[in-house]
Subunit: 260 residues, 2 copies
């Protein structure tokens, strides 16, 4: 493929695209992963390819909910692993919580590949120096992050078939779930089970975005980096959370960027 010059104004977006193309070739992603990525690109383009103030608020609020949770879990699909795997491992290490691989089109092959990919990323992240402002034994914290998903010994009540499969020690047990790029039905089922569902979704009009407890309308790799900062800074929960206000703000940005 083409080299992206250092000066290209959309370098980050083009590199993310390449990661998705490569991962698809390596069998980590479903057929539709590239199409989903393209949809995300378009929304991110309309959002100005930057984290808005309201998205920042939603990331802070997500950090506080994850910190306060008794059993938090970070659920990841293929695209999330490829685009933000390392950052989310760092977040999990700080929170001391598991990561669960949970994919829409579940096949043993892809589950296994994504698991191995994350385990390799864990090795790399565990060798890094401590993140800014984090005190402790980083290597140990990262090595303690459990990668769940393959065992599939739990169920999401309210869903049928392969999509109901989850980990008993992950999503099934969790009270707060961070689920970037989730599908609408599953988001709804998790909310109906009384769980707090924190989603990262670039489309503020999607069913997932509307169903979630907190919606971060932002690109996952940018959001994950900020989330790490905020979980380390121990952000506090706001008195009242107006998720519709957050969605309206994202829609306003798209509308403004669509005005000539």
């Amino acid at each position: 493929m083409v080299e992206v010059p250092e000066s290209h104004p959309r370098k980050k977006s083009l590199l993310s695209r390449q990661k998705i193309v490569d991962a698809t070739k390596n069998g980590l992603l479903a057929d539709s992963a590239m199409i989903a990525h393209g949809r995300g690109e378009a929304f991110d383009y309309l959002l100005g390819e930057k984290t808005s103030n309201s998205a920042r608020l939603a990331i802070k609020e997500s950090a506080s909910r994850l910190i306060e949770s008794d059993n938090p879990v970070i659920s990841v699909n293929g695209n999330t692993v490829v685009l933000a795997g390392k950052s989310l491992i760092r977040v999990a290490a700080v929170l001391n919580c598991p990561i669960e691989v949970n994919i829409y089109y579940r096949t043993e092959e892809r589950m296994s590949k994504l698991n191995s990919f994350l385990e390799k990323q864990k090795e790399i992240v565990s060798q890094e120096k401590n993140p800014d402002n984090w005190i402790g034994d980083w290597n140990n914290a990262v090595q303690s992050v459990k990668i769940l998903g393959k065992e599939g010994d739990g169920r999401i009540q309210g869903l049928e078939g392969p999509r109901s499969i989850c980990s008993s020690q992950g999503i099934e047990k969790a009270d707060v779930i961070l689920v970037p790029l989730e599908d609408g039905d599953r988001c709804e089922a998790l909310v109906n089970l009384g769980k707090q569902v924190l989603v990262v979704d670039l489309n503020p009009l999607s069913r997932t975005a509307k169903m979630a407890t907190i919606t971060v309308v932002d690109e996952i790799s940018r959001a994950a980096e900020l989330l790490l900062e905020y979980v380390i800074n121990k952000e506090e929960k706001s008195a009242e959370w107006n998720n519709q206000g957050i969605l309206n703000d994202a829609l306003k940005i798209i509308a403004e960027n669509s005005t000539d």
Copy 2:
């Protein structure tokens, strides 16, 4: 892959997606084709997945320019062939003009596969009954449509490398070019050569959309079906064409659909 139920509100969009996935597997499309399709899906979603009145005007104007042209050509890339190949063969048959396969990442294998794909579509279309309101020998009209591109014996002045390659009897010779899903640089080069460039692009903010003589902000398969109707009806050219007005209207629709 999943079956799309007949009642699904976004059935057409999901079937188009499946066509792109299948064609990618069959080696007809470049790596990035699915991502481009996903971007298009997002913009179409924001446009309400229907042809706007201003897009309709742009398709009518395109029809009139193609009819008036001395040497029209329809340039197609992989996604266009897969999504709207048959419709554009019908348009070419009515206009008695060639279709040129012209792709961004040119490889002999893909050029050959796309050529064969179109030749097969031509066979199928030639067996159809006459389109509504069209009088003549349909089989003969369709069989006369030349599929150009493989020969690559022409050049687009102002471009370098593989992207400058075109057909001497197609794009090089043409005064009016319909180019769905074109890239910005090539669109600019063609305009600079004094050619009329009619593009179909779902992103009204793209460089292509801004550079084109006429921009149809619509999904290619919908636009191609309407174009057929309009070339048969012999639409007349408008006195003055305000392309910026068309783009502004599309942006207004996106902005309105982004307002809660």
